[in-house]
Amino acid sequence: MEQTTTATTPPEPQVKRSGGDVIIETKNLTKVYRAPFSRETKKALSDLNIDVRRGEIFGLVGPNGSGKTTTLKLLLGLIKPTSGDLTIFGQGPRDVAVKQRIGFLPDGPYFYDHLNASEVLDFYGKLFGFNEKERAERIPQLLDMVNLKEADRKRVIRTYSKGMVQRVGLAQALINDPEVLFLDEPTTGLDPIGARQMKDAILAQRDRGRTVLLCSHLLSDVQAICDRVAIISEGQLVKFGTVRELVGPSQTFEVFADSMSDEAIAKVRESNFGVEEAGNHVVLHASSADLLDQALKLVRDVGGNVVDVKGHSETLEDVFVRTVKSDGRG
């Protein structure tokens, strides 16, 4: 595991961030699946130590089969850990009082398809013990929020598109105005506008002081909205920190120059910069801000003309691919 994390030194959470109090904490959380009537086992999660703090958007990312969904199911009490501890609001995940304070949108949600959207939300509202007046007030608000058209609300769910079901899924997850929202691939099935609206809805939850735990393959989304990210691979935490910590300050720059003689180009090529010719331009690659200054000076010294400078930041996707590959799992 890389610098920002200390996964092998439990039980302290790897990253502390100033701000809200810890509301979800795992200590050496391990899950081993055992095939029925067999001695064959599979370690889905190994010694996971993370903490989620109030008011943040926490991203859980990893390749397929890395243990993201297992982690989510453990946090929701749908499966039991083989070893280790897990608390939400200081209590076990199967505590009914905990469930009163959380919301969950599963990956590819499925609801009773003989009901329409309003009936589905009414059903979940009743499970929370909301009375008729409360439900009548809350349900239209939620359906408005997820932009489900009035005409669609009375159609049974089985006639809905995937995106519409996903919208109902978000609405049911918010029915109790939860303090913590668990979202598993929330933008699945949504068109670009729907995905954008979903991201806005998630950010709005954080603005209201709510906490969001997000599992997603869409790393650009995770980078855009998450405060902290845990990268899991083959059941192990391989990187954990704030997005800034993970992506780091490293930037690469491209200096585009023209009006350069063959002699000037030859001089530039003698330098340590990566140099290439693109059309009428000569492009110098600098891997840091200091080197950028040197590259600009070099171009001017050889009589060239700087026409453009482009900066490239590392993305979470770059970090993810590099991390998973260097971990020998990619």
Partner: protein, 358 residues
């Protein structure tokens, strides 16, 4: 999705505790059950002569049955009731269920056109056909709906969103089970009403008048007596269905659908012949075969007898043929035993389900 997700006055807590009004309602129902128990224990229902073999007063076993009923009432929280109602809604909106119900209703009505097959005892034909048909149809409903009560929730993953809400696993199971019981009760009631109306109309026509049909005479029981007996038989059928539903639910938690259905039918036939198993377990037969049973085989048979539900207690068709009354205490005892059996199965279901991973 709008990004303005302003909270409402609702807050985020919901209502964790069962509302007081709900608890009062449950307490009233439990009190009624207790009063019935006290009445039965102290006074009892005095059976007609035909029922003289059945104890009139509350036995320990009946008391356990009443306690099971009280437990079921108390565990039915609003969340369980919500699940029960949704299960009922889902069942009645199934197309095959509706088709089966219509088919059964039509067949009950048109059975009056086939009475020529039993000349001289046409009313017996309708009675046997109607009752037998309702028994089979509702039993099939109990088995097929029972095995499909929980596994589809797991396959379709609807269970993930339900169990992530403040719903305990026991509440989930009880809710689903009560929803099935409600479905069976409604279907049984609809079929029964249609059958009783059909039978009454047929008797009016057969006896050439309402007054004639109502008159009792030797070999000609009055219509009201017969309808009373048939109603009791149909009410007992509900007790049988409760056992079948709980059996199907329990089996579906650890067997495949097909295997669960097959075992249900085996238990059904075994339970129908439980009197015979009892007879064999006593080794009291006069035939050479019975006397030849070794003690080990007899113990095995006794174990089967104790494991099987006493379905013969819920089948009173023979009594109806012989124009015997079905006393209330007979029904009471049958229901008590059924409730105890169903409770044991539901406890097994809970043990199988409580640590299940999804």
């Amino acid at each position: 999705m709008s990004s303005t997700t302003e909270g409402t006055a609702l807050g985020n807590r919901g209502h964790l505790e069962v509302p007081t009004n709900w608890r009062i309602g449950q307490a009233v129902l439990c009190a009624i059950v207790v009063l019935v128990g006290i009445f039965y224990f102290t006074i009892g229902w005095h059976s007609p002569a035909a029922e003289s073999r059945v104890a009139d007063n509350l036995s320990l076993f009946d008391g356990v049955g009443l306690l099971v009923l009280i437990g079921m009432i108390w565990l039915t929280t609003p969340a369980a009731a919500t699940l029960a109602w949704t299960t009922f809604q889902e069942s009645v909106r199934r197309k095959w269920m509706f088709a089966l119900l219509i088919f059964a209703l039509v067949l009950i009505v048109i059975s009056t056109f086939f009475t020529w097959m039993q000349p001289g005892s046409q009313e017996k034909f309708i009675r046997d056909f109607g009752l037998g048909f309702i028994v089979i149809i509702t039993m099939l409903m109990a088995v097929f709906l029972g095995v499909a009560l929980v596994p589809p929730e797991i396959e379709r993953r609807t269970i993930l969103t339900i169990l992530s809400k403040p719903v305990g696993r026991a509440q989930f199971l009880i809710g689903k089970f009560l929803g099935l019981c409600l479905t069976l009760l409604v279907n049984l009631a609809v079929l029964s009403v249609m059958f009783l109306i059909t039978y009454a109309i047929f008797r009016f026509r057969l006896d050439h008048g309402i007054r004639e049909a109502l008159v009792s005479a030797p070999g000609h029981p009055g219509l009201m007596f017969e309808l009373g007996g048939l109603t009791s038989a149909l009410a007992l059928q509900f007790g049988f269905l409760i056992i079948m539903a709980s059996l199907a639910l329990t089996l579906s938690l650890f067997l495949s659908n097909i295997a669960a259905i097959v075992v249900c039918f085996i238990v059904y036939f075994g339970g129908q012949t439980s009197g015979y198993w009892e007879y064999l377990s006593r080794g009291g037969g006069q035939s050479t075969l019975d006397k030849g049973l070794s003690p080990g085989v007899r113990d095995g048979i006794r174990a089967i007898y104790f494991l099987l539900p006493r379905f013969d207690r819920f089948d009173v068709r023979e009594r109806l043929i012989n124009h015997m009354p079905i006393a209330f205490n007979y029904m009471f005892k049958s229901f008590s035993s059924g409730l105890v059996y169903a409770a044991v199965l539901l406890i097994i279901s809970y043990l199988l389900f409580s640590d299940r991973e999804f």
